[in-house]
Amino acid sequence: MDLLIQTLINGLILGAGYALVAVGLTVIFGTLHIVNFAHGAFFALGAYATLLIERAGAPYLLAIPLAVLCVAAIGFALEATIVRRALYDQGEHGSIIVTFAISQAIVAAIILVVGPDPLPVPSPFGQTAVSVGGFFLSAQRIFIAAASVAVLAGFALWLRRSVKGQQILAVSQNARGALYSGINVPLIRSLSFLLGIAAAGLAGALMGPMISAFPTMGDANVIVAFTVVILGGLGSIGGAMLGALVIGLGNALFETYVSVSWTPALGWVLVILVLLLRPQGLMGRAQLDRH
């Protein structure tokens, strides 16, 4: 029983972290129809920016928002110079090549500037573990989960309540329709790209203290995020959150009770099952109005 509770806690905390990466990916896919292979690189940039800002003397909690701003600024520069010109309306095929190239360039730049060795990202929560009734909870992970849930809830509320948020959803559902509604579609796309990148940067800043900063640190997390996004339904933000929860809990339960070595396959098995039974994903809409 204790093992089950500990496993469920592990899974929930894990899912909250996955959700943050996956939501960024799905927002960008939904509005821009870009498969952002550079997501992991922006994740790494978030961790490195946090680390460098901390080295400049800022405390971790202040370094996080500053790092997110830095990543968003880099994202904006790339969006304005490359992504906007090369990718919008070019479909998913071109986007894979361009975002992959961006990812390689960012990773190479990190190696050049900071070096390839993993570096610790200091956090006041450090290695502290909170023991509640015999259950171990890492303080950093509680912080990651709390911050992810708070940011995602805020984001969901903003999408629902604000006109700009609604316009993001509108562009992701029907970009042509948005054009006919007087919505500045390129502006909304740029905004979505920045939000998605900022979410990746935030995830890197939050998870950095746990996994250390190294140039390819985003790779494994983004692979999981891809399964989450497909599971939840491409472009569906609610789906990404649900998918993250399913994969987080599923992985934790599977690892504890079934088999560690088969766990990464679990996500893909779930993806295949969902695609067979419900091709639009858990929360995705069936395509109604695509021409």
């Binding site: 093992l3 899974g11 190696i111 060795d117 610790p120 746990m210 504890t256 766990t263």
Partner: protein, 378 residues
């Protein structure tokens, strides 16, 4: 006036140097290292060692009557397909005379399929027994095999530390397979119990549940088999967060500062082992460490050392054999002689395997490993 004199001197130097350079083309050695990717730190460390070796050889007049050594680097990016591509490019485009390639065992196995019977291949660091077990006549390995290293380390773990039960976690790789096989064997002969073996995939992002599961077995020793520095740091942090284990060990030859520093103290006291330790070095090794530290501003680690030795051994064997491309002759020369390296005398057996003269049990102390015990290898 002064400037003009300098320019004239430089021109004269070029005039003098040119005919000699034409007479003796450099001997090109292909270096395949992970310069990017998750193990790029190893590539960086290895390159420092290789560059130092080449500089020393060239400063001493080169090999084969004055030919210089030229190192040509290619990036294997920590992936087998990139390793294969790098080796192919070096052999066909760069026309190198030897390949030095081998950090990760899975990648080295893929690379050795390309070099087999075609070119001299020296594997500096990868340990899996399968690499040198394929009967490749021109393939040599500087590091000990995983089973040699593991036999000593696992015997130390079971006999000296004597836990009741060991819980193992490790990445699903060739290296892990070799280490696990040996562990089962050694543990099978003792009263120690193997509580659980958790093999995870390279794409695993979090280890909390695995550690939770391992802790629930009640094992009193955790043994981690992983060669990736960042992941090693993450795993030990998460082990620490869950309260740790009474005894803690990490696989042979995989713990460097690049894992200990980002672990931020979580690896303190972890037992591991290697064929090299800087602490307490004497003689040739002490001189090597001093030279390296002076030139690079950082102390060498095992990776720097074995890559340095690989370059030295390849150059030495070519020089002694009197040829840069008669691989049968060079290989016979390699097997038939004893090679002096910073670690001491190194010789290769029929499979091309070198045996380290000494083996050290380490304990993580501060930001590096400290010496716990030394074994002489028969």
């Amino acid at each position: 006036m002064k400037l003009r004199a300098k320019a004239a001197l430089a021109a004269l130097a070029v005039l003098v140097a040119t005919p000699a350079a034409q007479a003796a083309d450099p001997v090109k050695i292909g270096m395949v290292l992970p310069l990017t990717g998750p193990t790029a730190g190893y590539g960086k460390d290895g390159k420092l060692g290789a560059d130092m070796a080449a500089a020393e050889i060239n400063a001493a007049g080169g090999i084969l009557d004055g030919r210089e050594i030229e190192l040509v680097y290619e990036d294997e990016k920590g992936a087998p397909q990139d390793g294969v591509a790098a080796v192919q490019k070096l052999m066909t485009r760069e026309r190198v005379q030897a390949i030095i390639a081998g950090m990760n065992s899975s990648i080295t196995l893929a690379e050795s399929a390309i070099t087999k019977n075609r070119i001299l291949h020296v594997n500096p660091a990868a340990q899996a027994d399968a690499i040198t077990a394929q009967g490749s006549p021109w393939l040599f390995q500087i590091n000990n095999t995983a089973s040699t290293n593991a036999t000593i380390f696992h015997t130390y773990l079971t006999e000296q530390m004597a836990p009741k039960a060991i819980a193992v976690m490790g990445e699903n790789t060739e290296f892990n397979k070799a280490v696990l096989e040996n562990l089962r064997e050694i543990v099978g002969e003792s009263s120690v119990e193997l509580a659980e073996i958790a093999t995870y995939d390279g794409a695993t992002t979090d280890f909390t549940s695995i550690i939770t599961r391992l802790k629930s077995t009640g094992a009193d020793m955790i043994y981690v088999i992983d060669a990736y520095p960042a992941r090693t740091a993450q795993i030990w942090k998460q082990i620490r967060q869950q309260g740790g284990f009474p005894m803690e060990a990490h696989a042979v030859g995989t713990v460097q500062r690049s894992a200990i520093v980002p672990a931020e103290g979580a690896m303190e006291g972890v037992i591991t082992a290697d064929i090299f330790i800087a602490e307490g070095a004497t003689g040739d090794m002490a001189r090597f460490i001093d030279r390296f530290t002076e030139q690079n501003g950082v102390a060498p680690n095992k990776v720097s050392l074995v890559v340095y030795e690989a370059v030295k051994v390849v150059a030495g064997a070519m020089d002694k054999a009197g040829s840069a491309d008669d691989y049968a002759l060079i290989s016979d020369t390699l097997r038939g002689n004893v090679w002096t390296t910073p670690r001491g005398a190194l010789s290769f057996d029929d499979n091309g395997r070198a045996k380290a003269p000494y083996f050290y049990i380490h304990k993580v102390t501060g930001e590096d490993v400290g010496l716990l015990d030394t074994f002489e290898v028969e």
